[in-house]
Symmetry: C2
Subunit: 427 residues, 2 copies
Amino acid sequence: MKKVRIALLGLGNVGKGVWNILKSNREAIAQRSGYDIEIAKILVRDVNKDRGVVVPKELLTTSAEEIFNDDSIKIIVEVMGGMEPTKEYVLEAIRKNKNVVTANKMLIATHGKEIFKAVEEQGVSINFEASVAGGIPIINGINESLTANKIEEVAGIINGTTNYILTKMTLEGMGFEDALKEAQEKGYAEADPTSDVEGYDAVYKLAILATLAFETEVDIDDIYVEGITKIKAIDIEYAKEMGYVIKLLAIAKEVDEKLELRVHPTMIPLIHPLANVNDSFNSIFIKGNAVGDLMLYGRGAGELPTGSAVVGDIISVLRSEREGSNISFSHYIHKQVSSMDDVKAEYYLRISVKDFPGVLGKIATILGKNEVSILSFIQKPTKKEFSTIVIVTHKTLEGNVNKSLKEIKELQEVNKIENVIRIENLD
Amino acid sequence: MKKVRIALLGLGNVGKGVWNILKSNREAIAQRSGYDIEIAKILVRDVNKDRGVVVPKELLTTSAEEIFNDDSIKIIVEVMGGMEPTKEYVLEAIRKNKNVVTANKMLIATHGKEIFKAVEEQGVSINFEASVAGGIPIINGINESLTANKIEEVAGIINGTTNYILTKMTLEGMGFEDALKEAQEKGYAEADPTSDVEGYDAVYKLAILATLAFETEVDIDDIYVEGITKIKAIDIEYAKEMGYVIKLLAIAKEVDEKLELRVHPTMIPLIHPLANVNDSFNSIFIKGNAVGDLMLYGRGAGELPTGSAVVGDIISVLRSEREGSNISFSHYIHKQVSSMDDVKAEYYLRISVKDFPGVLGKIATILGKNEVSILSFIQKPTKKEFSTIVIVTHKTLEGNVNKSLKEIKELQEVNKIENVIRIENLD
């Protein structure tokens, strides 16, 4: 059997997953790839650190140059994460004519264009299945399986931490803080959870998905982002009452030749398959003009699921006898991104009002004047100083909702706009 | 741009889907494949039939030879279905050095081995994504994305007709006959629904999935099959009461180096993602030793979804610059198939009994003697001559259940074993 030598950059969780999969499934992987894969070198910062995995010490090196200058190494597997010095390493590997497999969402989301250009010029390949949604083969799905389609929409639950928190809040009635604490205890959330709970992690992943699905260049700064910290138990209750569940969705959608790119808490119908994606699971829903509705569901993180995607990419490089990549990025064009004011959705408005007669009439009048029509509203009797009005609008322009809310806030009967949550029926 | 000429065998629903997709998404497909795809010839039985699609008449031919002898045609797209003369056509196309894309589940399930051998010898490729679950990229998923994994289990809802019927029975309380009638009216069921409702259609698809997932040769006669006609409204009610939903599952599972291969109505937990796959949707759940739980969901049939898979295969042939297939089938070995007596599941037993005291004790004694332990039972007061006992067993050998039922049937207090349904927790 032919042999191939590869190198890992990094031996953290994903690196260990790759190591373990290549060991435990070695024979099957050899049959499928046609190669006996040898991990020849592993770049680490400290060769003496205990990593909880038995790796021969002579494979470890702190010298990236040693790896790049070894012509016998054909594939570089970048699982060290981060941007510096990772970006330079990846570009150097490409210049040294090596195929690259990476799990790095930040790198691809922010420097994809430069990296894609480099691989095409050099005639090598870049694979990054693991960069979005761990073990779920969504990159391959878009790049290889759905090629017959014009993709119209991608909507994904692509952050396991926030999905875990929202699931606990929804199914067990936990508050945000308690759910976050539990997520941290279980290792689903970092000590500093900002990147997850504020939606930034999902932004990187959405940038990659939208780039591929719409064959366009995406600037992460063009993606609207709103995290889940403002979601209260009462919003989850109202959602349930109206037949919805709240998920942090990452949405990319082509409307009138412009792209909507947005990450925010979203009410989706309880009967939609995405609504039942719970705990730390990820799921991506795609609408194609031929395939119709499609959904992929699985583990979005973890040593082995992410390792599964990385090793799948390695095998795919080995199977392809052509030089370079199957996929060309060079025809990608820049598509215009919609302003959030031009986004159309239904809106859930939770407004705290002083219980004056006529307040609902005044609010309704403002909405009507701004062409926002009301689908339903709920006002429950209350004994407190303020009572709560919940309004759900028909599908309408976000700009009109914002204009209305500005006016509503000025009403003397209104205490506070407590929350505004977009509703997507995904139909 | 390079041009490529392809031919369709057949212009039924799937053929029309392929035609329409290649027209409407032409530009995007050209960019992705690198080729301007020309449908050069279409084999039909009657060139004058109105097919509800505008195809230039000069493309239609009744002569298969004309197509096979045209050396400018590189890809044959078999969408005529059936076995005769389809099998001979496909083998002839391979001999004439053409790559083949097919949507034909029966052909691949029953003659896959011969066809795979022929393509490997000839150095051409065979692609058959559309043969299982329409637009869902499950073949590609197994063959290309999950290659890092040892797959442990595949469990799929892969027949849209029966899923539609069971959904109507479950969510709307319809009887089997009414649900079938509605499925027929909506075009989800054939006038003769036997192949769907008796599970045979799912058997072909499972044979293909198991072949690929376990890299083995599967004889369709080795697949146990049970249709949904015996499912009564009362079973669905009891299932619901116990937290289950009934689905026709196609299961392939490796246990102790033997394969379980079976298609039968199955109770699955309401909270499992497969439980919420409704109407005519298909979904396939896979457990891999690296990726963990994965599920793919989408349209299992229909002109455009199936066409999406066929056209995706065509693009994949065009992108691959290597001769022949990426996938080798030659290392597939024959794995032993478990006898149903050796299958382990939980069992739902619905037994109609004469309301004598002590009957439950006698049944429980027989089960205990045969090492079948009881997880729960339900007996409701009744005013009829017979009352119903529902027993759910712990996970146990099917052989022991069958032995028990044989003895239980002989009890004078027992009127009838009304139904036996396997329960799978898929955990």
